[in-house]
Amino acid sequence: MKWFLQRLQAGWHLPVTPLDDGGRRQPRSTLVIRRGWFFPLIFVAFLGLGFVSPMLISTDPNHIQINQRLQPPSAEYWFGTDHLGRDVLARVSHGGRTTLTFGLCAVAITMLIALGIGMFAGYYGGQVDLWLNSLIDLVLTLPTLLITLALLGILGVSGPTLILALVSTAWAAPARILRATTLAIRSSGYIEAARALGSPQHRILWRHIAPNIATPFLMLASLELAEVLLVISALSFLGLGTQPPHADWGVMIAESRAYIGQAPWLMWAPGLYIVLYSALANLAGDGLKQVLDQSLKRT
């Protein structure tokens, strides 16, 4: 955990101010957000907001008020009310927590599998790498969304099966990149030096390889999250995810379809949330990629 915090701090403060073209040092300010860390920070803030906002909104998302149905957005109902008079703002925040929880769980499991397999294959090489790499190749040839849908059909729709179906083939692409990264780090000088010093293997993996793999890991995780949020919403939309009366963004869009002519605002709120979170996750991934490119350029 310590190295992780150190890395995070290193992201916020410039340890050494870079030289500009003329060879002069740039003036140093107290808190400099290094280029590339802007969107990841924003994204983390929005994730926090997504989890906190349902607690701040006291309205029950499933409270039905038939006399208040299909109200347009107003001061009382910011995003209006739906066909049963339920508050769209409350539903969209509570639903968002559901979607985000499933998304984060799926991404965490996917990335842990990818990290394990990628690091193992990249570090040990040889026979192990040959087999694991073939496995990765094999899973990569499988059509991802098709397998996800088919698994949901076989296992039935529920929380755990949804996560299993999302993870099943998604781990292969990040595993391949993490393998390549580990491979590149393993052949660098400082690993050789650590080995020559007689560092035990777990120490090399944990202290030398893991910190260097952290940025690509986070980058892949946020890009994966962007994708997974869209897939979860699409599945819920089709009725293959969260089941009514509970809401998530996909379910809300599906419910709004019938009222598209008379109450178009029903679609705006969940649609906006999906686009916002997915776009932010993508931007966070791109930002981390920029950080990675910069650190590669420096070395």
Binding site: G122, G126, D129, T141, L146, A150, G153, G271, S278
Partner: protein
């Protein structure tokens, strides 16, 4: 080089095996014992002798690999089992819907690829910055919208408000417009960005300057030197996209009530109609895997160095 080819082909077989095995398990994993269901349907009491007799006759006593092999034989002859829900043969259900799916899939595929490459090329060559900015801004906003939201947005705009185009069904070219747009706009953006990026990089290469210095005309430079070198990343992306497009089509199809295989597939998932899911997997899976294989081999034909970067591993 031959090594790459062999390896790429070799990896395809286990994948095909996995897909067919999955489909086999789906079609045979009926709700309950097929013998009991059969006896119930023919109103016979399930005596132990009768059950044993039918088990033998249906080949259920054989070991799983034998049954798999026999099933594979029947699939090749076009027998995909019967749907749980409608009791109709799966081959017939899917067969009558192949054409609409292929029509939509290929239209969207061609629209996103050709328009994307042309637009990207125009942006890269002209470097007309206002056009560049507007196109990229529009496309990046549009591409952040998931396809099903886009589909509903298009329905609400063109169908409900403007009443220009039909929002559901199949038949005329007007019916094709909205589903194609919903499917193609996302990949279109990536194709434009990839083409533009690759072409701008290549336009800065020394050999382009040499070609210009030789006095070659612009058209020849663009088509012969730039586009050919930009083909590699594009081929990879376009091939990869094909699978996503076909499965994404399932979602779009069910929104627009398009009478394709995807609509059937989504309904089957909701109803846990396992034979239909298996049949769809069996038809679409190998198609996607085949296209992926073809793409990789095409990349290898365009640039043999691909094999090099691919097989280089840890020693």
């Amino acid at each position: 080089m031959g090594h790459y080819f062999q390896r790429r082909l070799l990896i395809t077989f286990p994948t095909l095996f996995l897909i067919t095995l999955g489909a086999f398990l789906l079609t045979t994993a009926a709700r309950g014992d097929p013998v009991l269901i059969l006896l119930e349907q023919s109103d016979q009491p399930p005596t132990p002798e009768l059950v044993a007799f039918y088990r033998e006759q249906l080949g259920l006593n054989d070991r799983l690999p034998v049954r798999y092999w026999r099933w594979l034989g029947s699939v090749v002859q076009g027998d995909l089992g019967r749907s749980f829900l409608s009791q109709r043969p799966v081959a017939a259900i899917l067969g009558e819907r192949i054409v609409p799916t292929l029509v939509l899939g290929f239209t969207a595929f061609i629209a996103s690829t050709i328009v994307g490459i042309l637009l990207g090329a125009v942006l890269a060559v002209t470097r007309f910055w206002q056009l560049d900015l507007v196109t990229r801004m529009t496309l990046s906003v549009v591409s952040a919208i998931p396809s099903f939201c886009l589909a509903i947005g298009l329905i609400s705009l063109f169908g409900t408000h403007l009443r220009l185009l039909p929002v559901a069904g199949y038949g005329s070219w007007q019916h094709l417009v909205l589903p194609t747009l919903a499917l193609a706009l996302g990949p279109l953006f990536v194709t434009v960005r990839l083409t533009r990026g690759a072409m701008i990089d290549i336009l800065h290469e020394d050999y382009i300057r040499t070609a210009r210095a030789k006095g070659l005309d612009q058209r020849r430079i663009i088509f012969h030197h730039v586009l050919r070198n930009a083909a590699l990343p594009l081929t990879t992306f376009v091939g990869m996209r094909f699978g996503a497009l076909l499965t994404g089509a399932a979602i779009i199809e069910s929104i627009f009530a398009w009478p394709g295989m995807g609509t059937v597939f989504i309904t089957a998932i909701a109803g846990r109609d396992l034979p239909v899911i298996g049949g769809y997997l069996l038809l679409i899976g190998p198609l996607i895997i085949g296209v992926n294989l073809l793409t990789d081999l095409l990349c290898w034909a365009i640039d043999p160095r691909v094999a090099f970067s691919h097989t280089q591993g840890a020693r």
